[in-house]
């Protein structure tokens, strides 16, 4: 008898507790200007701060923040200060979803910026209906060409040249420079890897061997992959993986004295990060790769010089590498986008501003920006470089040659793009 009553009470208490804990009334604010107040603009980014894939990439968020601080101290955007909320997604789709949920619904950010990771961002876009809910999704840190599909990702603005583009440009390069060699491609076993393979296929380049890897097991699999390629006698190996994976492969190769000509995909090619993963310097020297920015050590470049100064003053002077450069570059583009949207800042105006004026924005990129009313594509090209003995990437033919293309069947053409001059002191004044 007593048992039954107590059991009933427990049920009831549990039910009330469960129901009551959900009770919180809040009326959703006007979505179009969420995250904008008279003094502040809230932006949100998800990227891997911890976990295996975080090497190097984790610096992007802080770098962006540093540049925003610089702008905030110099008047902000029409008087509003930019607040960047950084969330760690551990390169996991599940975490990307839960952290983006916090950004969109708890922090109520105005726009997402710089989201990193192909698989992560696809999951986020699907889960939150970014297109359907007209949430601006700026300058994402992934080159998956599918994101340029305006029917599916209308409010998403890629910035990086797509992996398909990189594949096509590398294909042309490999055909011309290494015509009769045994070549191999190491790629990630998801859409990121699939995209670059499409590029190579469009560029009509066939590898002797293609190997897929999985981020979960690359640390232990690297030795086996390397051993297979060594047995194959591969002379040129293209690594198209995140920096952690590239580092594992290069490290394993060093241990068995396997030294082909390395061609490093842009995503995982940063020398500083590779060194921190234990890759010997002599392995990196001589490796080739594609880039769309100037070398982060090239202080004769006005953008690099300025960003390095901002880095020293606002970013605790962390080592300035490609990740920091990308972060600050994206931040500069973000500021220009916000300015172009005008003082009456709404999500719709932001999207419209990038479409109509984005291609004229100033940035460190050595390739053109292609935003327009019919295209959300950002950068669309690369230059090919080679690491010298001090691990600085220099143009492979001595002079800078920039190649542009599209993610579809268009040709790879040489570009005469002249980069717009940097606004004074790196502070945009556009409108």
């Amino acid at each position: 008898m007593i048992g039954k009553n107590r059991r009933k009470r427990t049920w009831f208490a549990a039910a009330v507790l469960a129901a009551g804990s959900l009770f919180a009334t809040s009326v959703p604010a006007n979505a179009n200007s969420t995250g904008v107040s008279s003094s502040e603009i809230k932006l949100g980014i998800t990227l891997p701060l911890t976990g295996g894939a975080s090497f190097g990439y984790k610096k992007v968020g802080d770098a962006m923040n540093a540049y925003f601080e610089y702008v905030n101290e110099n008047g902000g955007v029409y008087g509003r200060k930019i607040k960047l909320i950084i969330k760690d997604d551990e390169y996991s789709q599940v975490k990307a979803i839960s952290e983006t949920k916090k950004l969109l619904e708890s922090d109520r950010v105005f726009a997402l910026v710089g989201a990193l990771g192909t698989a992560n961002h696809k999951a986020v876009a699907a889960r939150f209906g970014l297109q359907r809910n007209k949430i601006p999704d700026l300058f994402i840190n992934t080159g998956f060409s599918g994101f340029a599909n305006r029917a599916q990702y209308g409010t998403t603005f890629p910035i990086l040249p797509s992996y398909a583009m990189e594949g096509k440009i590398l294909a042309k390069y490999l055909k011309e420079k290494y015509p009769n060699k045994k070549t191999a491609l190491i790629y990630q076993d998801d859409d990121f890897g699939a995209d670059v393979r499409v590029g190579f296929a469009t560029g009509e380049y066939k590898f002797t061997q293609e190997v897929a890897y999985s981020t979960a097991t690359i640390a232990t699999d690297a030795a086996k992959i390397v051993s297979d390629l060594k047995t194959l006698g591969a002379e040129v190996v293209v690594t198209f993986g995140v920096t952690q994976a590239t580092g594992a492969i290069l490290g394993a190769a060093a241990r068995v004295a396997f030294a082909p000509q390395w061609v490093l995909g842009s995503v995982g090619s940063d020398a500083t990060t590779l060194r921190s993963l234990g890759v010997p310097a002599q392995v990196i020297a001589g490796a080739e790769g594609a880039s769309f920015l100037p070398s982060p050590t090239d202080t004769s470049d006005e953008y690099v010089k300025l960003f390095q100064e901002v880095n020293t003053k606002y970013n605790k002077n962390v080592s300035f590498d490609n990740n920091v450069l990308v972060g600050m570059n994206t931040a500069m583009l973000t500021v220009q986008s916000l300015r172009a949207a005008g003082k009456n800042l709404t999500r719709a105006r932001l999207i419209s501003a990038i479409q109509s004026k984005g291609s004229t924005f100033a940035s460190a990129g050595l390739v053109p920006l292609n935003y327009s009313r019919t295209s959300n594509v950002g950068y669309n090209g690369y230059w090919i470089g080679k690491y010298d003995s001090s691990l600085v990437m220099k143009p492979v033919s001595g002079t800078l040659e920039v190649w542009t293309t599209d993610s579809a069947k268009g040709p790879v053409v040489k570009s005469n793009f002249k980069r717009p001059a940097m606004p004074a002191k790196g502070l945009p004044t556009n409108s």
Binding site: S21, T25, V94, R127, D190
Partner: protein, 333 residues
């Protein structure tokens, strides 16, 4: 005769209770924000998952560290059904239940011969090995998984009816139905039989109970629940992937079950709330302690583990047990 009458009356009362609870949730669901709705859906999911552990470990005494793996089986079954066969939602969930129940039956048959640490070890390997299977076969989507799209809420609910609310409705409905069914099973002679086996399987055998068969049945039913929970998890994320069912999920479930009372079904709601609340609380604390990435990553884990240890040492059978003991002591004097 009396017990039969008692049985039917009790079932009817329970049904009424669940219907009332359902109405309450419906009303609450209309008044809260999307964030809370999503949390509600998570709580519903954990409720189902914890119920599976109460049945398996609390009642039939079999320790499993691999609930996450069975959830993955259910989740993938549902996702594959919807993506490849374009069936209605309820069919996908049905498939999740059937496939994971079958999986559980096979697992139970194999596990019936194992005891204690061997069972724990096998289920641990299961928790790690099964999600990794997705990388082996292409149709399982690999590391980035498969989209699980239950579609938008029906149009007759209006344009204000958010996706999160839709998930909340579906999750809560499934939770109510499955807990109702489970509580009936546990209060029946099945439940008593399992408890007898757990207490002393030799004596149970002597009393004419087919211990092995009942243990396998427990595994099957528990897996059906876990599979359903896994499908709900996938729906809430719109995705099933190995990363959605990590080892830490299995550990979290065991934690929640112990915290709420491992053989107490009413406690699963409490346990579910705790499991959803802890990361939020940890986030708050971490935010207060300064936004170091070290703190935000590791603090929730620390809190969960410390809670687990405290509860396992001092209230291994759930807080209800301790309260009862205190009350008895008082009444004895």
């Amino acid at each position: 005769m009396e017990s039969l009458l008692q049985g039917r009356g009790a079932v009817r009362k329970r049904l009424l209770f669940f219907i009332l609870l359902g109405w309450a949730l419906l009303i609450v669901g209309d008044r809260v924000s999307n964030v809370r709705l999503f949390q509600g859906a998570e709580i519903a999911m954990f409720t189902i998952a914890l119920a599976s552990i109460v049945l398996l470990t609390g009642y039939s005494g079999q320790v499993s560290l691999g609930s996450g793996a069975i959830m993955a089986v259910g989740g993938y079954a549902a996702a594959l059904t919807i993506t490849n066969l374009q069936t209605p939602i309820w069919f996908a969930f049905l498939m999740a239940v059937l496939v994971s129940a079958t999986f559980g039956a096979v697992l139970g048959a194999a596990a019936a011969r194992l005891s204690g640490p061997y069972l724990a070890g096998t289920t641990l390997a299961l928790a790690v090995g099964v999600p990794a299977l997705a990388n082996q076969f292409n149709f399982l989507g690999g590391e980035q998984g498969i989209f699980f799209d239950v579609g938008f809420p029906p149009e007759r609910f209006g344009s204000d009816f958010s996706q999160d609310k839709w998930f909340f409705w579906i999750s809560s409905f499934l939770a109510l139905v499955s807990i109702f069914i489970t509580s009936n099973i546990l209060k029946s002679r099945f439940g008593r039989t399992w408890q007898a086996i757990r207490a002393n399987s030799l004596a149970a055998e002597l009393a004419g109970i087919h211990a092995n068969r009942m243990k396998i049945l427990a595994f099957t039913l528990s897996s059906a629940l876990a599979g359903l929970a896994g499908a709900v998890l996938g729906m809430n994320l719109s995705l099933v992937a190995p990363g959605a069912y990590p080892l830490s999920l299995s550990f979290a479930l065991v934690t929640g079950a112990v915290l709420a009372g491992i053989s107490s079904l009413p406690g699963v709601m409490l346990g579910a709330v705790i499991l959803v609340a802890i990361p939020e609380i940890a986030d708050l604390v971490a935010g207060g302690l300064g936004d170091s990435e070290k703190v935000t990553t590791h603090l929730p884990g620390l809190i969960v583990s410390v809670l687990l240890i405290i509860s396992v040492i001092f209230t291994p059978n759930g807080p209800g047990e301790n309260i009862r003991r205190i009350l008895h002591k008082k009444s004895a004097h």
